[in-house]
């Protein structure tokens, strides 16, 4: 067999199952909940600030986009708070909001037909580090002292715990997985959730991603490769995607969980549909664990494939939610990928990066960005790229600087790029229920 083969399971294929987004839950810097999230994004304000979660003295990058998150106020019980890492807490709170938003009640979905797909890049790294400090007595003993192990320690070591927590929360007994493809994990986890519906393994899936990486080891590891911005004197303006002064990403944290539902059953329930997830692809660059080829060819391939799956042309794309991390190489790489995959239309379509406002929350951000895309379609408004003031000749597209824009759009594209060389692209269409 030779040449490209048709893709099955896609929107325009025979089996006809389509995926609707009927519920959204978000925990993000600047506010817990979808409403506060969308208000921040459309205001063009930023939530980046000096790190307060630990004392960052001695670190190169001492800024981050933190969530003002109170787990008790968010409804978690004392035992849940003790048991769950911060990232798991984010995921559970997001899942609860999404379920409520969807209007699905107890018994509406048979447990066996309810799935969970949660993405995360670094899992429960905060809990893992904090417990290690105790067991090793401040990093002094390689042979850690088992007497100080908390009963839920293993739950920090295996990120799958976070998918379990969401499944228990929702009473899901269908397929449950944690997807951990680094910084594309959010997009990939949402796509995995769609796949479960497209193939018929589930009718409803709670899909999203979470990360809470603002802890010493993660900040230090990005310091070591100078990936994060050292602009400690002006944190509010430190995340500058596509701006020629950009000097690295600003670490963030947060979570988004979506209720994905078979489109026909959403229609039967008569609930509003934020968006349809219509196409997806991911590719590896097989080039370097952190380096990107300037031509963006693998991301372009993922974009072309995702559009083909959705059955749309480049000219149909009304908005691109960029990865836009604000590193020198990413923004150039991605701009080249848009030109390669969309041709002339790349110069006409608005492109923006919400990381300019809420930072880069690693695996979580892909799902947060899908939530932003769904809200952009619902509101017909494109969120801006904050802090974009100085042009970079290599980034010469319309990046929607600083101010949100009303925009008629039927289709949007969201992309992600991450360590490991992974490139993901997803196409969302306007909800019509």
């Amino acid at each position: 067999m030779s040449g490209p083969r048709p893709v099955d399971g896609g929107r325009r294929s025979g089996d006809g199952r389509r995926v609707a987004v009927t519920g959204i839950g978000v925990v993000a810097p600047g506010g817990t909940g979808v409403k506060e999230f969308w208000t921040l994004l459309t205001s063009g304000q930023t939530a980046t600030r000096p790190i307060s979660l630990f004392d960052p003295t001695g670190f190169r990058s001492r800024i981050a986009a933190e969530c003002d998150f109170d787990p008790a106020a968010a409804g978690l019980s004392p035992q849940e708070i003790r048991r769950m890492d911060r990232a798991a807490q984010f995921a559970v709170v997001s899942a609860r909001e999404a379920l409520t938003d969807s209007g699905l009640g107890d018994g509406d979905v048979p447990p066996e037909r309810l799935g969970v797909s949660i993405g995360s890049a670094v899992g429960c790294t905060m809990g893992l580090e904090q417990e290690y400090v105790v067991l090793s007595d401040g990093g002094r003993h390689w042979r850690v002292d088992p007497r100080y192990a908390v009963p839920h320690l293993y739950g920090y070591m295996v990120p799958s715990t976070m998918a379990c927590e969401v499944a228990w929360q929702a009473g899901a007994e269908g397929p449950v997985a944690l997807i951990s493809t680094g910084c594309t994990a959010g997009l990939d986890a949402v796509a995995h959730g769609c796949q479960l519906i497209w193939e018929g393994s589930a009718d409803v899936v709670l899909a999203g991603a979470t990360d809470a990486p603002i802890s010493p080891i993660t900040v230090a590891c990005f310091d070591a490769i100078k990936a994060t911005s050292p602009n400690n004197t002006d944190p509010a303006h430190a995340s500058r995607p596509f701006d020629n002064r950009r000097d690295g990403f600003v670490l963030g944290e947060g979570s988004a969980v979506l209720v994905l539902e078979d489109y026909e059953s959403a229609n039967r329930r008569g609930v509003p549909v934020y968006a349809e997830i219509a196409g997806f692809a991911n590719r590896s660059n097989a080039y370097h664990m952190t380096g990107l080829r300037p031509d963006g060819r693998e991301m372009a391939e993922a974009i072309r494939h995702a559009m083909g799956w959705a059955g749309i042309a480049a000219e149909d794309i009304g908005y691109i939610n960029a990865h836009g991390s604000g590193t020198r190489q990413n923004d150039r790489h991605e701009t080249a990928a848009f030109k390669d995959s969309l041709g002339r239309h790349a110069y006409e379509v608005p492109v923006s990066s919400i990381k300019s406002m809420i930072g880069h929350s690693l695996g979580a951000i892909g799902a947060i960005e899908v939530a932003a895309c769904a809200l952009a379609l619902e509101n017909q408004v494109v969120p801006p790229t904050a802090n974009l003031e100085v042009d970079d000749p290599e980034c010469d597209l319309d990046y929607v600087p600083k101010v949100a824009r009303a925009q008629e759009m039927d289709w949007v594209l969201s992309v992600g790029s991450g360590f490991g060389g992974f490139q993901s692209a997803m196409v969302l269409g306007r909800g019509r229920a």
Binding site: M1, P6, V7, D8, G9, G58, E112, A121, G123, L128, Y132, V133, S136, G139, W142, R143, V144, P146, A149, V150, H152, L153, Y154, G155, M157, V158, P159, S160, A163, W168, A172, E173, G174, P175, V176, A177, I179, S180, T181, G182, A185, D188, H192, P216, I217, V219, A220, C221, F222, A224, I225, R283, S284, A286, M289, T290, E301, F419, G420, F422
Partner: protein, 431 residues
């Protein structure tokens, strides 16, 4: 149009054998790889015994520059992937780059590497954290490194479902093949036999604290005391059947069915999801329960979990004494690598028409009265294997693996071939 996914290559890095034939001959001979932990001094620890890949030397297997950039878990994964591709007899460069996929399972990522870096951070300061922490510790490291090493630019994936991960990755590889991928490297490895890893695992209370390697991991036995952790696993080359046929590839078998389920919340009193996973996987394969010739059990080694699995199997097969085995008694539980290695064992069992043994089990526990293949391999006509896996927290997965060739209806030549394999294993054991 749904493409058929077949397995054309196997790469094994197991505590009882490095390379597929070394592993298989040791397994048929009943030779295990459990021993007192040597990667650190386990004195005073709640776990004394583990399955370590003792004959693995990274410098003999990997380019020098990759060794300090990656954790031991990725060393094992890269090695298994290379062995699997070589076994499949395929040069990835001859396949269109975007039709080559990688999807691996990881349970705990680069624990040992991460422990070293956190230790540096807390004992010396942030500037002592190395540049490779950002790419070595995270769960995606193995998939990324395999894709780079072999120029595989198609779909990528990383699945974390604890010990069910090996099957979930295989299921994902099959989806990729159905979506236009020609060849996928899939499977899993894990390697958290370091102080922090072992202490964290012990916190579940599910591990055996026994010091005698022969008595530490005894699933379904009245004397079961928990499980022994291990390192390693397996990678498989999964191909589109038509593409494999076109290049004249040797085929081990087909990934005919797969399903995943999740247990009800703790304390619900409802039946766990393992039986449903098996039923769904068989339905997915379009095969009746009668077709199953052998079950590769999850075999937790924890009495309650063993009783549940035994009851599930008994109920599933309505009293038919289907042969059940757990060759992982020779390797320990390899986390994300465990179910991948069980699939490898199932494929080899189908190839050689022999059920590999479960070792060490003397007396079946009450409620675990299975037709367990014990101590010696058992020749059998095998066309279909059911592989079961469970992951901590409530994950269940099942895969149905069918033989490449139609099963020969006459028993005679089959028995002859299996007998020859066993005789060879016996000879090796004596030597």
């Amino acid at each position: 149009m749904t493409a058929t996914a077949v397995v054309t290559g196997i790469g094994v890095v197991a505590p009882n054998g490095l390379g597929v034939e070394a592993y298989w001959s040791a397994t048929l001979a009943g030779r295990g790889g459990l021993r007192r932990i040597t990667r650190f001094d386990p004195t005073g620890y709640p776990v004394q015994v583990a399955g370590e890949v003792g004959d693995f030397v990274a410098a003999q297997r990997l380019p020098g520059r990759l060794i300090p950039q990656t954790d031991h878990w990725t060393h094992l994964g890269l090695t298994a992937a290379e062995l699997a591709l070589a076994d499949a007899g395929v040069d990835p460069a001859t396949v269109p780059e975007y039709e080559l996929a990688v999807v691996t399972a990881s349970s705990s990522g680069g624990t040992e590497f991460g422990q070293k870096e956190i230790e540096k951070l807390w004992s010396k300061g942030p500037v002592f954290v190395g540049a490779y922490q950002s790419i070595a510790w995270f769960y995606a490291a193995t998939t990324g490194q395999i894709s780079i090493r072999h120029g595989m630019r198609g779909p990528c994936g990383v699945i974390c479902t604890e010990q069910a991960g090996g099957l979930d990755a295989l299921g994902q590889a099959r989806r990729m093949v159905r979506h236009g991928t020609r060849l996928a490297v899939t499977g899993g490895t894990d390697a958290s036999v370091c102080p922090y890893g072992v202490v964290a695992q012990s916190a579940t209370g599910l591990l055996s604290g026994r010091a005698d390697p022969a008595r530490a991991y005894l699933p379904f036995d009245a004397d079961a005391s928990g499980y022994v952790p291990g390192e390693g696993g397996a990678m498989l080359v999964v191909e589109d059947a038509a593409a494999a046929l076109a290049r004249g590839a040797r085929t081990y078998g087909q990934v005919a069915g797969y399903a995943a389920t999740f247990d009800p919340p703790p304390g619900s009193g409802r039946e766990p999801g393992l039986r449903r996973a098996a039923e769904l996987a068989l339905a997915d394969a379009g095969l009746p329960l009668d077709a199953v010739d052998v079950v590769f059990a999850d075999a937790a080694g924890v009495p309650e979990a063993d009783r549940h699995e035994a009851a599930t199997i008994a109920r599933l097969f309505a009293g038919r004494p289907v042969p059940v085995t757990a060759p992982k008694t020779m390797t320990g539980r390899l986390y994300a690598g465990g179910a991948a290695l069980d699939v490898a064992a199932a494929l080899l069992a189908l190839r050689d028409q022999v059920v590999p043994p479960t070792v060490g089990v003397d007396r079946l526990a009450a409620g675990c009265e299975l037709n367990l293949v014990r101590d010696r391999p058992r020749p059998a006509r095998l066309g279909t294997a059911l592989v079961l896996a469970r992951g901590h927290g409530g994950f269940n997965a099942a895969a149905v693996i069918t033989s490449a060739a139609p099963v020969i209806t006459s028993a005679a030549p089959v028995i002859t071939s299996a007998t020859a394999v066993i005789a060879a294993a016996d000879r090796e054991e004596r030597n």
